[in-house]
Symmetry: C2
Subunit: 711 residues, 2 copies
């Protein structure tokens, strides 16, 4: 009898420093990527101080320049003009790279080494937008708007900016797709900008606790945050247009801005008409209005949309590069987010895309073939694929590599080439270069498995029926490591559940958050279900929750629990739930509505009562406390405080400006009054989410809580 | 063989509703008391709406009046004058009772039923003082000072009162024995009052979360609290004197008030000299200064005391009733708190009391026998007994009933009679009436054991040596119910440890807090030790902690742990610690300095770094961060956050104006940065201590934490 010695490869165990965002080893535990950008149709790869050209047909790379050599060749010895960071190659037909030094922004000819343009780079600005045509820069500093023209002349546009009067920055709390407040016309000669008067908005009294290493500040200080709550007085937004040459500003003559939303600002190709999507406070009617950029006069309302629940346009119109009279408009009006072709008179030329799926992104155009390149989930609700859509025929062709995965694209200037960066459940990351005309894909990069050598759990995905008994809902399940179907495992439901988000898709490990893997390693089973109300499933799927947030969502999540009950290896006596933000609201909703189902919960940044949430998001889904008192009452967790039976830890950031601490505090008050005992933790100085290494601490904390009470 | 059926008396189990302050059954679980007061030398008992006379020799009671009958007899039919609450019998020689109606304060002749004086009773006042001689009332309303003279004429004394400029209220954050800011002269013709300019003091940004039942307030509001931190700019206090007849106010000409303390305000018998104890910011020098009440001029400094560590006078001077030229002064200058006789020129006539014990209270005088009645711990450091001290001979005679207990007294007008209300370790409450001349005691009331029928643990008391190997420290031990010395019990050290307080004395159950009994019922052993730094043991005992708070205290507490290690029934592997305020500071200090000793801790309202505590208390014991950087560094818990190993829950009131939330928040920050995991809880709307029924919730919370992790 021989004793066979098998070589034992010790599988490594994950730590939160490996798995968690902000962890010490996190960067080497995520799939490698490539930093790619387009210089016209020339693919450029950047790494460290080197830029390579990449051959789109075969991936062959050639050094274009290194910043070190570029600086030497250019004789850029002064610190102020030494290229420190490459930003982009903005001109398809010129060898110019946009770059930063420590103090300047500049355009450098990387063939001659000549600095052809530069302006100061002020890191103290609150917002900045540059226009590549005119090379003018708009920026906000000390609350006021300034513009530096291409020749370097700076003009102060406003003087009365303040915390109350906000210029050139995001308004409506970043809802309606708003990300900024400075909008150049294509020529860079006129600038549209937001002006927000929030002097009438109440402050939420946040406080700043001094940094431990700040010896100059002894006592905590107020950090008031303008926070218009549902049903309360909101701010007033107007749109100004500056003529850079004359310095004149006109405000669009949109009438009284009270209780109105102004979003999706865009320009016509000639740069003399501004388009604004105007919505009412109830968010059930929108109009696309054209304004004369010179006079501010209203030209016409060219589009109108209404819905008994709500409409929420998220994308500005985009003109066809080959036809100044036509633009593409996004709308959910047929029930799914699709693209429509309109002319400037407001006539619908055609619906470009259609079907029971949604367009997720518009990447650009191929002018030669008059097509638009988009991403959409036409194959499956949990995929994202890339397509070319012929504008005249509406023909849609998938152009990404493979097909099952989650593909994000970046289009070259002409639209002839596309970077297809994608994941699949068992693919950490591939990058293919697509020739959009030939519809051929060249595999440029295949990331190695960053978890090689570690004990990795099994990730499963499937569907169950929603509580309406007909809608498919997607779930992800992370199996405990060394899974044994004869055992019974403590199980944690992770939930978000709110609009504009989803958890389950076909990215690597079905989009599993790395904490789930950590928990699986510790012997838990994780279950994640995208209930009705979440994104990418069409209007009615999302709007099922209207005026009673959390209710339909809970019904669906309980179908998930019903499903778990069918699995012998799930120990339903040890069921936990965890979620953040809307998921925190869901967690407490589930803990208090189903106190005998969930034994342990951890709720982060939870909404407790929608009357304390802000007007834009809150009223869209809930209307106002005045018009929907039953809905607010039904969804409020204050009256549910007495139901709490299991162990519930609530965690917030002390400086959370999104779900303000009043929510958690008031729930604690209600529990104290009712004699129930939630646990609580706060991250001072942190906002709605814990940043950097504090996220590791947070997840150690969450894990410990389940270990203490569920394991 | 006969089966003997023994009657089983089921012993009742305590709940927190029984034991805890604010609990639903708490009132019936504490020893019954009698509401007694003096009308001259006539003892009066009050209960509900009835007042009885009580015969001091035999306790026989006779109804003096009922408010119901008094109202009827007086024809007090108007609500405004119906006697609702009896306050006192202020005139020894007149049958007048001071009482309130819902809206009036009044003097009623209870023999004739005539209302001889009344004035409006404004519940909105911020402070109020009445003088029985002139029947004038001083009060503060809307931040300003008003005086109503005996005839009912009201004068507004100040007009510039505000949050910044505080009149007639306590100053120096209630340190130095200060409890109010209005001081009548004996005649009630002149009023001394505090004025505090705190405009230069930083605000701590507390916030108010709206009450859950307040529908008028939606969003949380700032509740800034003037909070001068150690080493920072403090407020400016001056003392005004109002002449009621003329309405003229003079301010005492005390010079620049910057960095000075003004305390212990009193009057000479003639009511024309004001005495103020003036201290420097360093609190190591005080002067008793006399001022002319008419001119405000400084008359003389008649007493000076200094100490290298600190001096902290807590008691105003008191003139002898029989000699307008002599007063009694309290001082720790010989090492213990004793009484001294001084003349108005500042000459020390004699030391009235002396010995290695302290005077705790001065109850009044017996003019006939020229003696002063005091309470003191002359028998034992953990007792409080009552004594008559002959002013001329210094002879001291104990006059209370029994002797081992904790006696508090209330003296009749002449000093001939004394109510002796006391507890002993096995006496819930007795009340004896003392004839101070005969030194005889009549037992008037014996409270029944309110815990009859409950399972009560054993309470033990003893001494161990301090870490200096010589000083005796007193401890209390609460034994687990059904104590079995062969078992090993989880043990919780309850600690306060700071100055001006003690935990162990000979009151009922050695002063045991009722939560200790609750824990003993759950199978814990409780250990409580008064370390050096605590009160009633003399100056050096207290001042051992100077400039390094917590250090000597911890050494002593660790001697307590050494003692526990000698007890076989203490499971030192399951050692917990709990304390509040200074005790919270001690708890975290012990958890982080001895991380292998204490497994579980609960720290309430803890100081984390003395640089964030207020100047009056903080600088007395710690000097300033500028002058004692080593001491602040040594005692700060921020640098100890990394040491945390056991389970520590920190609990605060969100509105704590004493130890502001910044302490706990900063410790959390330090722990997050260090990767340690304390737990945390907050009571929104609560201050430094949890009030009412929230205290029950709190103690359920504390108990659960030990149950979770120590049991």
């Amino acid at each position: 009898m021989a004793l066979v010695m098998l070589p034992v490869v010790a599988q490594q165990q994950f730590t939160l420093e490996d798995l968690n965002f902000g962890g010490k080893n996190y960067r080497k535990m995520i799939a490698k990527n490539r930093s790619l950008m387009w210089w016209g149709d020339q693919l450029i790869r950047k790494s460290g101080d080197t830029c390579w050209t990449v051959n789109v047909a075969n991936g062959k790379e050639k050094v274009l320049f290194t910043t070190d050599k570029l600086n030497k060749r250019a004789g850029l010895t002064a610190d102020s003009l030494q290229v420190a960071m490459i930003e982009s190659f903005p001109y398809a037909d010129q060898p110019l790279v946009k770059a930063w030094s420590d103090t300047e922004r500049m355009l450098v000819n990387f063939k001659t080494g000549k600095v052809v343009w530069h302006q100061p780079n002020d890191f103290a600005v609150q917002a900045m937008e540059w226009n590549e045509k005119s090379r003018a820069t708009a920026f906000v500093k000390d609350d006021n708007l300034f513009v530096t023209d291409g020749a370097g002349n700076t003009r102060q546009v406003t003087t009365d900016g303040s915390r109350d009067l906000v210029y050139g920055q995001s308004v409506h709390r970043n809802e309606f797709g708003i990300e900024g407040g400075l909008f150049w016309n294509p020529q860079g000669t006129r600038l549209a900008f937001y002006r927000m008067d929030q002097s009438m908005v109440t402050d939420y009294p946040l406080i700043n606790v001094p940094e431990l290493d700040d010896s100059t500040q002894v006592i905590a200080t107020p950090a008031p945050e303008k926070y218009p709550m549902a049903g309360q007085t909101s701010h007033l937004v107007t749109v100004g247009v500056l003529d850079v040459a004359t310095g004149d500003t006109v405000y669009l003559k949109a009438g009284d801005p009270t209780d109105r939303y102004f979003s999706n600002i865009s320009w016509n190709p000639d740069g003399n008409i501004v388009y604004v999507m105007e919505g009412n406070r109830d968010q059930n009617v929108v109009d696309l209005v054209a304004y004369d950029a010179v006079t501010g006069n209203r030209v016409a309302s060219i589009y109108h949309e209404a819905h008994p629940k709500y409409v929420e346009p998220q994308h500005p119109i985009t003109f066809l590069p080959w036809d100044k009279e036509k633009f593409i408009m996004w709308s959910e009006k047929d029930g799914y987010n699709h693209l429509y072709l309109y002319d400037v008179k407001g006539k619908q030329v055609k619906q470009l895309t259609s079907g029971n799926w949604v367009v997720m992104d518009m990447l650009g155009f191929d002018t030669d073939r008059q097509s638009v390149i988009i991403s959409a989930n036409a194959e499956s609700p949990i995929q994202q694929n890339l397509y070319r859509v012929d504008v005249s025929t509406g023909e849609m062709t998938r152009i990404d590599e493979g097909g099952r995965g989650w593909h994000t694209g970046r289009l070259s200037a002409s639209g002839h080439y596309l970077i297809d960066n994608y994941q699949e459940p068992d693919v950490p990351r591939n990058i293919a270069i697509v020739d959009t005309r030939k519809n051929t894909q060249f595999r440029y990069f295949t990331a190695p498995d960053p978890w090689q050598g570690y004990t990795v759990p099994e990730y499963r995905c499937g569907t169950i029926k929603a509580a309406d008994d007909s809608t498919d809902l997607y779930y992800r399940m992370v199996m405990p490591v060394d899974f044994d179907p004869a055992k019974k495992y403590p199980t944690v439901v992770y939930v978000y559940g709110g609009p504009h988000a989803h958890n389950v898709d076909v990215r690597w490990h079905y989009g599993s958050r790395s904490w789930e893997t950590y928990m699986a390693q510790r012997g838990y089973l994780l279950f994640i279900l995208d209930n009705r109300g979440s994104e990418n499933r069409g209007r009615d799927f999302e709007q099922a929750t209207f005026r009673h947030l959390g209710q339909v969502e809970m019904q669906d999540q309980m179908r998930g629990v019903d499903f778990l009950r069918t699995l012998n290896y799930v120990d339903t006596a040890r069921l936990g739930v965890h979620g953040w933000s809307f998921g925190g609201f869901m967690t407490i909703s589930l803990m208090t509505n189903y106190p005998d189902v969930f034994k342990v919960g951890v709720a982060g940044g939870p909404v407790i009562d929608w009357k304390w949430y802000e007007v834009m998001y809150g009223e869209r889904y809930m209307d106002t406390p005045q018009t929907n008192p039953e809905g607010y009452e039904q969804t409020s967790l204050l009256s549910k405080a007495a139901n709490l039976k299991g162990r519930l830890q609530i965690i917030i950031g002390l400086n959370d400006p999104t779900v303000v601490p009043q929510h958690a505090y008031s729930f604690l008050k209600a529990c104290i009054a009712a004699g129930t005992q939630p646990d609580f933790y706060v991250y001072p100085g942190q906002g709605h989410n814990m940043m950097g290494h504090q996220s590791v601490h947070l997840h150690e904390r969450i894990t410990r809580y389940f270990d203490d009470y569920l394991k």
